[in-house]
Amino acid sequence: MTDTHVDASREAAAAPDPGPARNPSLAKAALLILRGRTLVVLVLLVIFFGAISSEYLTQSNLILMTKHVAINAILAIGVTFVILTGGIDLSVGSIAGLASMVAGGLLFKGWNVPGGTVFFSAAVVILIGIAVGALVGAVNGLVVTRFKVAPFIATLGMLYVARGLAQLHSNGGTYPDLSGTPSRGNTGFHVIGVDSVLGIPVAVWIMILVAAVAVVVTTKTPFGRRIFAVGGNERAAILAGIRVNRVKIAVYVISGACAALAGLLLTSELGAAYPDTATTYELNAIAAAVLGGTALSGGRGTVIGTVMGAFVIGFLSDGLVLVGVSTFWQSVVKGAVIVFAVITEQAQQRLQSSLAKRSS
């Protein structure tokens, strides 16, 4: 019956949606809750765990949890850029690991050049680490645009390649001491992962900065608009004169740089660089973006939503730990929450379009 498929689906599309919008004011209220659902869930989580554990809502625990969130949030913000264009980046965990090893190596044993070993200051090392992430991201972008490899495959490949390079860097070993020596002028790497300013960890300040910049870029710049256009309808974007390939390469570079930064924060916190740093973190990052309402099909999503998604995941898992739920159950709960998030996302889309139809 393939003959009739086309007509049948057209008819279905044209038919008015009798769906959930029979009572408009109720539907509008439901839509409001659905739109802010990540925040609602976050508040409910805090209330719930606060009620059963007296430690949960203490200032020190909140700060600790937020610090845990920071690393995942930075990763997730980078991945959000890619997902908004309709792509995906599975390599961010490995990029974090590679950046960690590069930075660790530079701090621990320096850079061998003909005639001796060069040491860079901690700040320069951090910049080099981020540059490495950006470079790997650029390779992802080029593979996706020039060779037309599906983003899933291209970045899956990079997941292995970057992790392999991280292991090759030390032949599988760990760089155990990153504190540096004053004579080499490379102390201070611990500042970004360990220290606090005004009682708040530097990592959290960095997350706030990254999020603020990302919000401005996505909502207030022509480049941000182009990201949404590419993800919403690539053919229309091309016809509007948008250099789609450049936009795509740029988002992978951003994702790589964010991943590297997250890897460096993690390394600084741990005080050592080992090649398995941030393994499987890409899944947490994607989960945070999806939880925050970013559509995997592209064109829809917000940075704030992603940050909120990262908070939900982080506060949920730390809460489960605090009340003594086993790690196995934690995994089950996290998975269920992610799928639930997508279901509510779809409900929101349906409600939104049926309300739009009524008002037009």
């Binding site: 393939t2 401005v216 207030k220 022509p222 509007a240 004169g241 064109g299 829809r300 008002s359 037009s360």
Partner: protein, 502 residues
């Protein structure tokens, strides 16, 4: 002898009357040709006869017996098969697998009887005179004409007494058309009734026994083919007064804005050695059938396809051929398929309007919300776009207003020449008249306007100058004073013109 009779059939889609009291007869063992412009109602009637749609009113008789078809399966069970204009084959499967897709022969309960399928597929291919085709050949590897035959073969697997073909030759080469017509003649010998929808006058006159003409949802003529000629058919297709609905552009023409020289575009639908000019204040229509290369031509002009030849815009050669360069040089395209190529469905009306020019509305690198709002609302007012609000989803607009959103975006790039690919497709008559008025107004403001149309009446009524394309070439050029329907149809269909020029 009558086999199918549709009596007093009406079909309404919402408020649109697609068919009005149509009484149609198909004769047994004959090739019954249906002609009419796009939207004349022929395809709708065929959907009703094949069970894909139900009529709003009227009755269908098969062999004098009243029948109702609730689904295409019902119609198939009564021996009515249909082949659509767009092939519905699986390119990744073999001929035999395609023929039995969805109704696989079984061995036992679970296993596909591949051998029997192959045997029957071979038998059907033989009946179509295609013994040389291997039932295991992958359909995607076959030329389009043979794919068409596979599609026919699939219909013939069932006991088919009436075979409906909706423009089956639009993508075929002339040799493939000959093969198809031989097959149709054979089917006629085998007492199969063919109902054949076509635009191509020179083709269907060779094969048809009866011709039925549709216009505006009504059946306007029904005659034995031998008692008609091309002029008779065209006059009935077009009707008397196509011009009254549309505003004609009457502005003075100025300097040449677009000069295309020897443009060729390779590809599945190639364009060969096309040259023309567009002047300021001119509205130019490009008429032709589907697959004539019109869309390929404008997409190449717009930098979306690579081609060879020269393109001069405002007397300046534009050799780069990228979309950005062509926009900067002064071209803008409103594409044929708004949903696929025009709109970003996830964005608001405002963001869609500003999509191509948003970089101009920044203040210190950041977007200025006020400037965005002002620019977008100015265009909404200028083009009289009906919107619930600038931040409304663009998908909430009607087709005509969506079209205007894409047009607004194109105008914001400050083009010299606007290219519009089928600007009136899929919008109602009132919106069509508005688009026509808009094109005339834009021409009066000094733009050059080039639009593509498949509708005779429309192109004749709106264009100052008409270029006719067939098989990738410009086969004729008319001015508003010299054009006739017959000449247009002849130029768009005739292969003799083509062969003489190639």
């Amino acid at each position: 002898m009558t086999i199918v009779e549709a009596r007093g059939i009406s079909k309404n889609y919402g408020g649109v009357r697609a068919l009005v009291d149509v009484t149609f007869t198909a004769y047994r063992g004959k090739v019954n040709v249906l002609v009419g412009e796009n939207g004349a109602g022929k395809s709708t009637l065929m959907k009703i006869l094949s069970g894909a749609e139900q009529p709003t009113g009227g009755e269908i008789f098969l062999d004098g017996e009243p029948v109702t078809f609730g689904s295409p399966r019902d119609a198939q069970a009564r021996g009515i098969g249909i082949i659509h204009q767009e092939l519905s084959l699986f390119p990744n499967l073999s001929i035999a697998e395609n023929m039995f897709a969805g109704r696989e022969l079984r061995r036992g309960r679970r296993f596909v009887d591949a051998r029997e399928q192959r045997r029957r597929a071979r038998a059907v291919l033989g009946r179509l005179g295609q013994d040389h085709l291997d039932p295991d050949a992958i359909v995607g590897d076959l030329p389009i004409g043979q794919q068409q035959l596979v599609e026919i073969g699939r219909a013939l697997l069932e006991e088919v007494r009436v075979l409906i073909m909706d423009e089956p030759t639009s993508a075929l080469s002339s040799h493939e058309v000959d093969v198809l017509f031989d097959v149709m003649a054979d089917l006629r010998e085998q007492d199969v009734t063919v109902i054949y929808i076509s635009h191509k006058l020179d083709e269907f006159r060779r094969i048809g026994d009866w011709v039925t003409v549709f216009r505006d949802g009504r059946l306007v003529a029904h005659e034995s083919m031998s008692r008609t000629d091309t002029g008779w058919i065209v006059r009935r297709m077009v009707g008397r007064d196509p011009g009254s609905l549309y505003v004609r552009n009457s502005s003075k023409t100025g300097e040449i804005l677009l000069d295309v020289r020897n443009l060729s575009v390779p590809g599945a639908v190639p364009v060969h050695d096309v040259s023309f000019t567009v002047r300021a204040g001119e509205v130019i229509g490009v008429y032709g059938l589907m697959g004539a290369g019109r869309t390929e031509l404008v997409e190449c002009l717009m930098g979306m396809r690579r081609g060879s030849g020269e393109v001069l815009i405002r007397d300046r050669k534009e050799p780069e051929g990228t979309v950005q360069a062509r926009i900067a040089a002064g071209l803008a395209l409103v594409p044929e398929d708004r949903q696929r190529d025009g709109l970003v469905q996830t964005m608001s009306v405002r963001d869609n309007i500003l999509l191509a020019t948003v970089a101009r509305l920044t203040h210190g690198g950041l977007l200025s919300g006020g400037a965005e709002q002002k620019t977008a609302s100015a265009k909404v007012a200028e083009l009289a776009i009906k919107v619930p609000g600038l931040s409304a989803a663009v998908t909430a607009l009607s087709g005509g207003n969506q079209q205007k959103v894409v047009l607004a975006r194109a105008l914001l790039t400050e083009p010299a020449v606007l290219l519009l690919d089928e600007p009136t497709r899929g919008i109602d008559v009132g919106a069509k008249a508005q688009i026509a008025a808009l094109m005339a107004e834009l021409a009066a403001r000094g733009y050059g306007v080039l639009f593509i149309s498949s509708e005779l009446a429309e192109v004749i009524a709106m264009a100052d100058r008409i270029l006719v394309m067939a098989r990738g070439r410009i086969t004729a050029e008319f001015t508003a004073d010299t054009v006739t329907e017959e000449a247009l149809v002849t130029a768009s269909a005739s292969e003799s013109v083509l062969e003489a020029s190639s």
